[in-house]
């Protein structure tokens, strides 16, 4: 026996109602409950991982800032040391140069004095010789002896005028 094409059958309706309910409960229990549980667990795990990562990042940032500060301080210290050393070196070199210059100046001074003394002595000697020579020349010219003592003043004036002309 077959039902009509568009028949409404109470038996089928009752069975379908029961079947739909069973399938609903079955799907909820066998599919949705376990899958949603696992999705929730995963969400929790992901949240936890994100939080951990965030924490780790903030810790890393703190550490980095700390290291950076330390590094800066060390750099500053080393720069300070360098400056100090170069300042000392500069000072030392200045001192050495100054000393050398002073020594050189001292030597120059000594030399100059020596030279002066030598010059004076030479001048003196020269003056003696020239006055002797002048007396000799004058004797030859005048034809008689000239007493150097009498003409000393004259001779000296002459030599001075010659020296000035030099």
């Amino acid at each position: 026996m077959k039902l009509g094409f568009l028949s409404i059958d109470p038996g089928t309706i009752l069975f379908t109602l029961a079947n739909t309910l069973i399938l609903f409960l079955g799907l909820r229990h066998f599919l949705f409950k376990p899958v949603n549980q696992i999705l929730e667990k995963r969400q929790t795990a992901v949240d936890q991982a994100l939080k951990d990562a965030e924490d780790a990042r903030s810790r890393a940032e703190t550490a980095e800032a700390e290291y950076r500060e330390k590094l800066d301080r060390a750099k500053e210290e080393s720069a300070e040391m360098m400056r100090d050393a170069s300042r000392k070196a500069q000072k030392r070199s200045d001192e050495i140069i100054e000393k050398a210059r002073a020594e050189a100046a001292g030597i120059m001074q000594q030399n100059a004095e020596e030279l002066e003394r030598e010059k004076r002595r030479a001048e003196h000697e020269l003056r003696g010789e020239v006055s002797g020579l002048a007396v000799l020349v004058a004797e030859k010219v005048v034809g008689r002896e000239i007493n150097p003592a009498d003409h000393a003043r004259l001779i000296d004036e002459f030599i001075d005028s010659v020296g000035d002309a030099e």
Binding site: K2, F5, T20, L23, L27, R28, F30
Partner: protein, 252 residues
Amino acid sequence: MAIPKVLRGPEKLEVSGPKVIKTFHLFGMKINFTETVILEWIVMAVILLTAFLLTRNLKVRGTSKRQAIAEMAVEAITGLVRDTMGRRWLWFTPYIATVFCFSIFGSLISLFGVRSVTSDFSVLLTWAAITFVLITATKIRCGGVKGYLKGFGDPIPVMLPINVLSEISTPTAMALRHFGNIAGGSIIMGLIYYGLANLSHMIRLQVPLLTVGIPAALSLYFDLFSDFMQAFIFIMLTMVFISNAGPSEDAA
């Protein structure tokens, strides 16, 4: 040479309802046990077994392909319910999944040469009735019994018959649309098979070779596409009607 009967193709075209396997009387009522119910059991067994197998030893990390499929299915249907009905209806997801799977597998079972579950009007009427009950329950819960009854006289009392009609036509239309598409599709496919078999006999083919291949292309639309569309339309309408029965999520 005698051709076996199974290879001779359909000999007559018959449009009828499901076969009644057994009838028993309960409290003076005649209860029919039809082939639809047996097919429903098969469909349920397939769905539940699939769900059971897909959710074996689920893991939080290092998921298997089976688990990925199960998760995708659950997330897809959950997302659909959330987008269509709003977050407060999320508990309703398993019912939508139930109707969707039941409808789709119940329609596709016709590919194995049996009647589809959804070409039995009683089945669709049952689901539509569930939707109707849920719509009414939501209206009563949100507006009270008085508010619900008052709604029928809205905007003017004269509208009462029209409002009652519109209330009843909602589930009726849903059931008829689904039933009509699937049953109509199977009738068309039956006609095509019958026609092609007769055509084969007319050109003196003893085995109706014309029924090989040609109906498959049409079956893509009338069985696969239509089955999927109707299942989808049915759950969409169910969700929209039920969530529209209450105030919108912003107001709630």
